[in-house]
Symmetry: none
Subunit: 143 residues, 2 copies
DNA sequence: GTTGTGATTGTATAATTGTATTATTGTCGT
DNA sequence: ACGACAATAATACAATTATACAATCACAAC
């Protein structure tokens, strides 16, 4: 259990919503080096109890921080400060990341016994269909 | 120690649960012929240690695969590939694996800030260049 | 051969984690 | 007052983990 709760002060009378107060203060703690990569944050329920608020409010703050890639929330495991790549690495990742991902995808397709043309066709199908994020991955039911 | 662990990559930040990531990837490895009938899988604790997760999560994946009759888990003995899927199932697994890989690639490209068209173009370049290496597992070590 | 002990295997149950959905509350504009 | 909308809370849920357990094996002692 983390003494982070003691470092966060919320003002219930403030016009700033509680969940934004939490977001802002955690951002500041990370910027100040008070929270480092890999540090585990208190659970939503721990922090909520310490701050005497509902844990869903903490969860909302954590969700925002997760979306901005500052933390990583993992159901059943907890929430952690996420490794923020340095700007140079970030740029290098973007520069080379796409090609590497493409190579990796092609290799996977070949391992599965498909031709490069089939790999490209599959990509087109996915682009046309549900373009966005990772799919529910419906694995087949036994029969 | 089975080197299967090295072939399985999990993304703790993915919305896809860890146990389903394991299920899917083992299905793909079987479909691709990387795992054959009678092969012993790593124990739940071995694989869990290698992936830095709890062994119950691996056990849950194995249980699903066991219910699919793809593997056979035996208390006190270990886990083995039970039967090669029927050609129809195998083809279905292959197709599913390809779609999943394409979706994953597209998601990675979008995450890097590229458009779907750029993703497709990058794939074409890699196909033309005859990409030598399979680039394994860039990201996602801890947390 | 049998038995016993310890190590290693998967299993079962419950506790802990974040998530999704819905209801309640509060505030502001009209 | 009223209605709309954001913030918060209540409830149920899903994923992961912790803990204890049962089956199997290896191997030594008898």
């Amino acid at each position: 259990m983390n003494e982070l709760a003691g470092k966060i002060q919320i003002d219930l009378r403030s016009s700033e919503p509680i969940y934004l107060q939490i977001v802002r203060q955690i951002e500041q703690l990370v910027a100040a080096g008070s929270l480092k990569q890999g540090d585990q944050l208190p659970t939503v329920r721990e922090l909520a109890t310490a701050l005497r608020i509902n844990f869903n409010t903490v969860a909302r703050a954590y969700r925002l921080l997760d979306e901005e890639r500052l933390i990583s929330t993992q159901r059943g495991r907890g929430t952690y400060i996420w490794e923020m790549p340095t700007p140079e690495i970030q740029e290098r990742l973007r520069a080379h990341g796409l090609e590497e991902a493409a190579r990796s995808y092609l290799a996977a397709a070949l391992r599965l016994g498909f031709s490069p043309a089939e790999a490209a066709a599959a990509l087109s199908r996915v682009m046309a269909g549900g373009g966005g994020h990772d799919a529910p991955a419906d694995h087949f039911e036994s029969f």
